[in-house]
Subunit: 158 residues, 2 copies
DNA sequence: ATGGATAATTGAAAATGTCAACGATTTATT
DNA sequence: AATAAATCGTTGACATTTTCAATTATCCAT
């Protein structure tokens, strides 16, 4: 016997602590689900030489929104200096390019090359599969509800 | 003018990238909401000399579940060595104690002292307020739904 | 009894996060 | 128009966190 308290019937031993009050904490639940998803995500993205971070940057570079590095930093909740490093790597791999902002030459607009777009399409499919695995406990309707609630909490929209 | 593309009416400039496809990614949404919440959480907990991590450990120590360090590590998605450091600190502050497992003397059960329990009650109130602030965009029903979905995704239960 | 696993611990190495300073450019003030 | 103040990307320093291998004590299976 390893646990100190008998598990409830149907409860896996690693879930013993689900009964603790912190399991009702939104912050804890977000952290835990994110941690579990990150493992799957990073595993899936490794095939493409990407991690969650570089994948996110590549995704933004693939949008038609012409994001600047600073906008990326803000949006991804990262320090601008981390964006520099991430883009340095992607640029060296020929996946994205930096161009001076049209209206503000201090800023640099990051966009994907054709190669970057091709890689992103493949990585995106893998990331979707990883997400589905991470949320396997939810029906597709529930996944939609979850995303809607998260988006509303962040931006007050769906 | 700072942005390269005109914002939609009613859209704050820092939300320009919401239109990017990654905004539909559950992993990204979880990371972003967690990041926003962590700032508020850590700010609130700093008054008690705690961070999210030490608060979580203290919360588990305050449960009646007699968690071992390994169970804490698994449950909090942390390496066992990080739990050691966190508990070292809490123990030195007199907030928790380690006791050998009754059935397995390799394991150590962590429980809160009276002082730890008193501090936790106060910190818990502050953490609840921080959570409310982080989820201010949601109604209380929606907060319940969100937590329910997160719990179901993690453990297939509500 | 012995050998193989598991719990906590330590310590090192790698990855990440945080922050201050700099040159180039833009915006605001006079 | 000239100057001052602010902003963007970048660099580098430093702290924190993560990850992992090794160690000791204890448990479990044979």
């Amino acid at each position: 016997m390893t646990t100190e308290v008998d598990a409830q019937p149907g409860t896996r031993p690693e879930d013993k602590l689900v009964a603790a009050s912190i399991s009702l904490d939104a912050g804890f639940l977000l952290a835990k689900l994110h941690a579990a998803g990150s493992v799957l995500n990073n595993r899936a993205l490794a095939d493409f030489g990407l991690k969650e971070r570089s994948y996110s940057v590549l995704a933004l570079a693939n949008s038609e929104l012409e994001p600047t590095q600073r906008e990326m930093a803000e949006f991804l909740s990262l320090d601008p200096s981390q964006i520099v490093a991430l883009i340095d790597e992607l640029e060296q791999r020929g996946l994205v390019i930096r161009a001076p902002g049209k209206l503000d030459r201090r800023a640099k607009i990051v966009s994907a090359t054709a190669e970057g777009a091709a890689l992103f399409r493949k990585a995106e499919a893998a990331a979707r599969a990883a997400e589905a695995a991470a949320l396997a406990g939810l029906s597709s309707e529930e996944v939609g509800e979850l995303k809607g609630l998260l988006r509303k909490a962040l931006w007050n929209r769906d």
